[in-house]
């Protein structure tokens, strides 16, 4: 066992330890808490860099712990895991930074940051999970650790949202548990990537394995907010902006989508899924969700709600990419996992900034905000254009690969889904941009914070700007090896088309 094998555990523990320490800290120790938070985030980033190096050298660090007879907890860093872990750890740093600024002078920070770290710990666990059992454990842990964040504000609306969130995610969790348990009952502990064994199982019990597939996808689909299961996401937007960022970009919906990637690629195998005809229904469902989410977004007048429905739509891009049989579609889906995260986190940061600085919550209140908060507005614009899919923002790259993937898989109709969704995206983002930049200010701001007519405070502004720049950089330098696209291509080459 070389020292690198401990890295996955170390990555997990950094945020876990941070969580524990923060829980213990008294409420008033703000500086120490922030230091621990940011320190842990930075350490984690460094560890991730080491992991990336290891994976590039084709070593896959792995650590195992037997919890039940024949059942192991496996933490393993393969390239797909790194993709997600890298995204989460980068975004965690900025979200933490943002959250520190956002929650300045508000109560319950110890609790908030404790659960926040716990949430990231579980996300790390999800990304580094080496088998479905491990995945399941951290998946549920994520549900648990996000609940306190969703209800953080403690008013009636957030408690109601928390309840909706739980009803959806716990039901999804139960369905997933059922699927996983059934799979284990049939085939024992199947590590990710051991697709030959699943193939054998499918040969023996084709119907059962189909049912299990449906269960797994349905269970994961709740967090990924696929169409009939998306209801929690818009409701949960009552949470504070950093939490929304976490839900929409860093952790929760991504966990669902990532899980589906794992199931299709590393449990069933893409070819098998294709042969069994699993992929087509997913493509249809994802397409419908894409259009439906965009359509609903168009009808929202609340900024965060509009963004939430936009997430519903955008996350299904990932699924769409996965369900297209062929390397290009895969690349598109995987890379969108990252791109969507970067762009959506930017948008939520900005929405939070508008709310915090000027008390803006509704879209019609945004009139003329571009002059008052130019930098935040610029970041928002970048995010929005990326969502529409305009180069050089990252969203275009994903869309391009998805389109190519659709053609490669001979599913031309997907192109029209992409186009239709882009149209709708444009329809709900461009008017917002117009309001921001071109409309004159209408009367007073709803709730202006006195700050010498400045943009949002630096702690809120900088994360938004950085993620906006990252989403441009991810698109602009898409073809360099260290870009998300490069990594997605690496995964695709290395893992799926062996």
């Amino acid at each position: 066992m070389s020292w690198t094998d401990w890295l996955p555990l170390a990555v997990l523990m950094t945020s876990f330890m941070a969580a524990t320490i923060i829980f213990m800290l008294p409420e008033q120790r703000h500086v120490l808490r922030s230091t621990i938070n940011l320190g842990a985030a930075c350490i984690k980033l460094i560890l991730i860099v080491f992991l990336i190096q290891a994976v590039l050298k084709q070593q896959y660090p792995e650590i195992r712990l037997e919890v039940l007879p024949g059942l192991e907890l496996i933490l393993r860093a393969d390239s797909l895991a790194i993709l997600f872990a890298g995204l989460s750890s980068v975004l965690w740093l900025f979200t933490t930074l943002y959250a520190i600024g956002y929650l300045e002078n508000s109560p319950n920070r110890s609790r908030f940051f404790g659960y926040f770290s716990l949430c990231v710990a579980s996300t790390m666990g999800i990304s580094l999970a080496g088998n479905l059992f491990t995945f399941l454990i951290f998946y549920e842990l994520l549900t648990l650790s996000t609940y306190p964040l969703v209800v953080h504000r403690g008013n009636a609306a957030s408690i109601k949202a928390g309840r909706t969130y739980l009803i959806y995610t716990l039901s999804g969790g139960v369905v997933l548990l059922l699927g996983v348990a059934a799979l284990y009952a049939l085939g024992g502990d199947i590590a990710f990537g051991d697709i030959e064994r699943t193939a054998a199982l499918v040969g023996t019990w084709p119907e059962l394995m189909t049912i299990i597939f449906i269960l797994l996808i349905a269970g994961l689909g709740v967090k990924a907010a696929i169409f009939p299961f998306h209801g929690w996401l818009p409701t949960a937007m009552v949470a504070p902006a950093p939490v929304s960022a976490l839900l929409h970009a860093v952790a929760v919906v991504k966990a669902g989508a990532f899980g589906i990637v794992r199931v299709i690629y590393d449990i069933y195998g893409i070819e098998l899924s294709w042969q069994q005809g699993f992929l087509f229904p997913i493509a249809v469902l994802a397409s419908f969700t894409i259009l439906y989410g965009s359509w609903r977004a168009l009808q929202q007048i609340d900024i965060k709600k509009r963004l939430a429905y936009s997430t519903v739509s955008q996350v299904s891009y990932i699924l769409l990419g996965i369900s297209l049989f062929g390397p290009l579609g895969t690349i598109g889906g995987l890379v969108h996992l990252l791109h969507q995260g970067l762009m959506k986190v930017t948008l939520f940061f900005c929405a939070g900034n508008f709310a915090e600085t000027l008390g803006i919550h509704k879209i019609h209140e945004l009139d003329g905000v571009g002059k008052r908060m130019p930098l935040t507005s610029a970041a928002f614009t970048v995010g929005a254009l990326g969502m529409i899919g305009l180069p050089p923002v990252a969203g275009f790259i994903s869309k391009w690969y998805l389109g190519m993937g659709a053609l490669e898989a001979n599913m031309e109709w997907v192109i029209f889904v992409l186009i239709g969704s882009s149209l709708l995206n444009a329809a709900y983002f461009l008017p917002v941009l117009k309001r921001i930049w071109f409309n004159p200010q209408q009367g007073q701001w709803p709730l202006e914070v006195i700050n010498n007519n400045r943009d949002a405070i630096p702690l809120l502004l900088i994360p938004a700007l950085v993620t906006a720049s990252l989403s441009i950089a991810a698109g602009l330098f898409a073809s360099s090896i260290l870009s998300p696209l490069g990594w997605a291509e690496l995964i695709t080459l290395r893992e799926y088309l062996r």
Binding site: Q299, P391, G403, F416, S422, L423, L430, A478
Partner: protein, 571 residues
């Protein structure tokens, strides 16, 4: 090396300046920035104009492997684009003197410019698409700059059409890249591979109509007569002169010209082209605003270029000959139309300009556009010469006849300017920036055949007097009609954007429900395509006939001629 450097700076220099212009320190200098922003592009185009050797700048890490190049056609486009933007910027410095939103205007100007220049040097479709989108969306800001109700409406329609266009383009690019077997994103490879695509018709449809939004082909033109007039005058000039050509340039780069023969697509394009050419003339003559007349004239002129492209589907082998001509025609139109737009702003400053110069300045671009003066002569002659080789005499004839529409439009335009001068009680003070830039553009337009033709062989009028006479007769006939009806007041007009007024209430899904309340208070006016000057007086059929018999007779004649030609040609 120098070329590569310039290539790199062509789109990025304006972009950097745009960023600089965001700072308060440079608030005053933003207009100057806009003027100097075109320098790299201008130098690049001058350096490479007419050179067959293509310089490439490939950036494998950028986007999906960006490649920028100095394509000969692109260089011609780059040349007139940069010239037009330069003079318009100078003009704009004067124009926006007392505008408190000038900084925003210039930032958007620079961004639009960056997009426009960038797409002309892009060899790969991704950067092309990016720059195209940048131009489109930043251009939106120019359209609605005044923030008035009309501008906002125009902007909304502009945006809707633009987004639809973008989506069609994206579809086309998907299909195109797939046609190369997912191997290439270079425009030239895609153009070559399109004939092999199994979705060829869909692909061509998307390409044609997608870029047709910019180029103002019929049905896709709805935004154009709305947006061009409401924008600030310098912006109108670049919209109508330069940006409209982006559509044409995209067609030239991406359509499989020379790679495939398709009479179906050829005929379709030709029909669309002539409908634009004559229909634009007809509707344009029923306009009440001078800039709207110019916008319709742009549609009409773009129609001619569409026809030319259509012809290349019929005779692919002529492509290498015709494309440079087409580029030159575009150059001619850009400079002339730009000058015309600028003269709208100069119109009110007539007191401060010697009358001879003023009249000359007003007439010259108009005559050039009609084809009997300046660059227009060469452009028209070259075009005809190129198309003669098609052995499709009907088309050449029709092109000749299209001068009818252009002449009518120019009369209408000049007439409207004259009305304006009379009605305005006091003239605006002279503005040297505006006047100088106007003059500069005029001169450039006039000298274009000498300066900017590259290796295209342009003969002077003296060398081909007979052909010149061939250009003359249609305008002369048109003038006769025009003199007959010019003194009559117009009894009816077509609203700007024609068909849009029918469609607009139908698909104006406003953003979210917040706006719904406002809508209810508005009086719903039943839109109609023809607005009568005297609303109370119901037009009797005979009155309607009278109107047509008097004022629109020229255009009607044109349409009939067109139909006749088509019959002739189809036989």
């Amino acid at each position: 090396m120098i070329s590569q450097g310039l290539l790199f700076l062509t789109p990025l220099f304006p972009m950097m300046l745009a960023i600089l212009a965001c700072f308060k320190t440079f608030k005053k200098n933003a207009g100057i920035f806009a003027a100097i922003a075109v320098l790299p592009a201008f130098l690049l185009s001058l350096l490479n104009l007419g050179q067959l050797e293509i310089t490439y700048l490939s950036m494998p890490a950028v986007l999906l492997g960006s490649v920028w190049h100095t394509h000969p056609t692109g260089m011609t486009f780059l040349l007139f684009t940069s010239v037009l933007w330069f003079f318009s910027a100078l003009y704009g410095i004067g124009y926006t003197k007392s505008d408190d939103k000038a900084q925003r205007f210039w930032i958007l100007w620079l961004l639009t410019l960056s997009g426009n220049l960038g797409l002309l040097v892009s060899a790969d479709i991704i950067s092309f698409y990016g720059f195209f989108a940048l131009m489109t969306f930043a251009g939106y800001g120019l359209v609605i700059h005044t923030g008035k109700e009309l501008a906002l409406r125009a902007g909304r329609i502009y945006l809707i059409m633009a987004v639809i266009g973008e989506m069609l383009i994206l579809t086309a690019l998907f299909l195109g890249s797939a046609a190369t077997g997912h191997t290439s994103i270079l425009a030239q490879d895609i153009a070559a591979a399109i004939p092999e695509s199994n979705q060829i018709n869909l692909l061509l449809f998307c390409l044609f109509f997608g870029f047709g939004v910019k180029a103002g082909i019929p049905l896709m033109h709805l935004w154009l007569p709305l947006a061009h007039p409401v924008a600030p005058t310098p912006a109108s000039a670049v919209l109508s002169g330069a940006m409209i050509k982006a559509g044409l340039f995209a067609w030239i780069s991406l359509l499989p010209l020379g790679y495939m023969h398709s009479s179906g697509w050829g005929i379709l394009l030709i029909i669309f082209g002539f409908v634009a050419s004559f229909g634009g003339g007809l509707v344009g003559m029923l306009q009440l605003a001078p800039k709207a007349v110019l916008a319709y004239s742009s549609i009409s002129q773009m129609g001619l270029m569409t026809v030319t492209i259509g012809c290349l589907f019929l005779k692919p082998e002529l492509t290498p000959l015709v494309i440079p001509v087409l580029a030159f025609f575009a150059l001619h139109h850009a400079l002339s139309k730009g000058a015309l737009f600028l003269s709208v702003g100069i119109n009110s400053q007539y007191r401060s300009i010697p009358i001879v110069l003023f009249v000359l300045g007003m007439l010259l671009p108009a005559l050039s556009l009609v084809g009997i003066a300046g660059s227009g002569i060469q452009a028209k002659l070259l075009l005809k010469e190129g198309l003669y080789a098609l052995y499709l005499p009907g088309i050449v004839m029709s092109i000749t006849l299209s001068a009818l529409a252009t002449t009518g439009l120019m009369y209408r335009f000049l007439w409207l300017l004259r009305q304006e001068r009379r009605e305005s009680l006091q003239a605006s003070p002279a503005d040297h920036w505006m006047q100088l830039s106007w003059a500069g553009l005029l001169i450039c337009g006039f000298l274009a055949p000498l300066l900017f033709s590259g290796n295209l062989e342009t003969k002077s009028v003296l060398q081909q007097p007979i052909e010149y006479l061939g250009l003359l007769w249609v305008p002369v006939i048109a003038s006769v009609f025009a003199f007959w009806f010019i003194s009559q007041p117009l009894r009816a007009s077509v609203p700007q954007g024609d068909l849009i007024v029918l469609i607009e209430p139908w698909f104006s899904v406003k953003e979210a429900s917040a706006d719904k309340k406002e809508d209810k208070n508005e009086q719903k006016v039943q839109p109609s395509l023809l607005n009568w000057v005297d609303k109370d007086q119901q037009p009797t059929p005979s009155a309607a006939l009278e109107i047509f018999s008097r004022s629109q007779v020229a255009a009607l004649l044109g349409v009939i001629l067109l139909l006749a030609n088509l019959m002739l040609w189809i036989n």
